[in-house]
């Protein structure tokens, strides 16, 4: 299907751009490790293990925000987005491709961040990792979408966190629940529900974000 061919071509472009720029991924890695160190100093002596699990999710959300702010920068420069919008492909392919690329980078950052977390604090359960995977999908889908919206405004970088955080609250709930509660199935299912609902909404409405 040509739709997936388009997504593939665009995703390849996004991955290539990020690999060439080589700034977002190192920044995210440094940021997340620094955040963990800050957490160590933020947790008073007798804080539970649960508290640090919760803080992991804070770190993930804010590290993702850092990366998401950069998502549409190449398109914003010199209005390259116009060129993509004019192409005959479905506009939602632009969003899907960018989300996939962002997911790849967030995943790469977490491949380092999660072991570091385990090193600094305590081990990670399988449920936590599953939660991270599901949450990443939601974060990238919604975050990329909102990034495109933010780029169209005057406030830009200022606006993305404001738009993203209320929508990230359910993700945090799902993630922390999966990490902390005895039977994480409910929370993982909730994360999957979030991904499906908001993924569909993003897919259906991206067209209107980039056209008049």
């Amino acid at each position: 299907m040509t739709y997936f061919a388009d997504v593939g071509a665009l995703a390849r472009k996004d991955l290539l751009l990020e690999l060439r720029a080589r700034d977002t991924l190192p920044a995210m890695l440094l940021f997340v490790v620094a955040t963990f160190v800050v957490f160590h100093f933020s947790l008073p002596a007798h804080s539970s293990q649960l508290a640090s699990s919760g803080l992991l999710w804070v770190a993930i959300i804010f590290t993702a925000l850092l990366g998401l702010g950069r998502a549409f920068v190449p398109e914003r420069e010199q209005r390259v987005l116009d060129g993509l919008v004019l192409a005959p492909c479905d506009r939602s392919a632009i969003w899907l491709a960018k989300s996939i690329a962002t997911l790849a980078f967030l995943g790469a950052a977490e491949l380092v961040a999660l072991p570091v977390f385990a090193l600094f604090f305590h081990g990670l359960s399988g449920a936590t990792v599953a939660g991270v995977v599901l949450a990443d999908v939601g974060i990238c889908a919604v975050g990329t979408f909102l990034g495109a919206m933010a780029v169209a405004t005057r406030a830009r970088d200022l606006l993305l966190p404001l738009l993203f955080l209320p929508l990230a609250i359910p993700i945090v709930v799902g993630g922390v629940g999966a990490s902390v509660v005895g039977s994480p199935g409910r929370y993982l299912a909730f994360l999957a529900l979030y991904d499906v609902l908001f993924g569909l909404l993003c897919w259906a409405t991206f067209e209107y974000v980039v056209t008049e």
């Binding site: 388009d6 071509a9 190449p74 116009d82 060129g83 004019l86 005959p88």
Partner: protein, 194 residues
Amino acid sequence: MIRARKVGKRFGDKRVLRGVDLDVARGAFAVVTGPNGSGKTTLLRLCAGLALPSEGELEVEVPRAAVGYLAHEPLVYRELTALENLDLYGRLYRVTERRERIGMLLERFGLWDVRHDRVVSYSRGMTQRLALCRVLLHEPELLVLDEPYTALDEAGADLLDAQLTELHGERTVLVSTHDPDRVAPLATQQLALA
């Protein structure tokens, strides 16, 4: 091909176009002139389909895939090479015999030797030539060119002249320019914006 009746465009409180009428038939070569700020770029963006008019009616008979738009900005990724940029657009526009066509265009516009260099290393004139390649890549039926001679040196301008002459009559062309004399021999109609 293009039909505009009393088209106007407003950005917030600023009115950029007002009461524009335009009729471009298939195969015509229309030239739009006017001083800076007269709305040439806006009119071309409307015709390319990137914006909707605030008032009036605008009808463009060809689908998106058949339009080639050259903007003020080259619309290419600076961190990708010429080849990568054209390959991306070639895939998105479903260009048949993509590699051959890209190669042919790059050679014609004198960019073959630098095809593996990133666009960020190009001069402004070279970037403009690449933009022209991008526009012509999918053999559009309607060409909308916003000041295409910008930044081109004499050689580049000659290449563009030759290309436009070749397309004359076969494709529909809508050009905006500061220098109407250059395209005067090809023009079949003119529109002057106040």
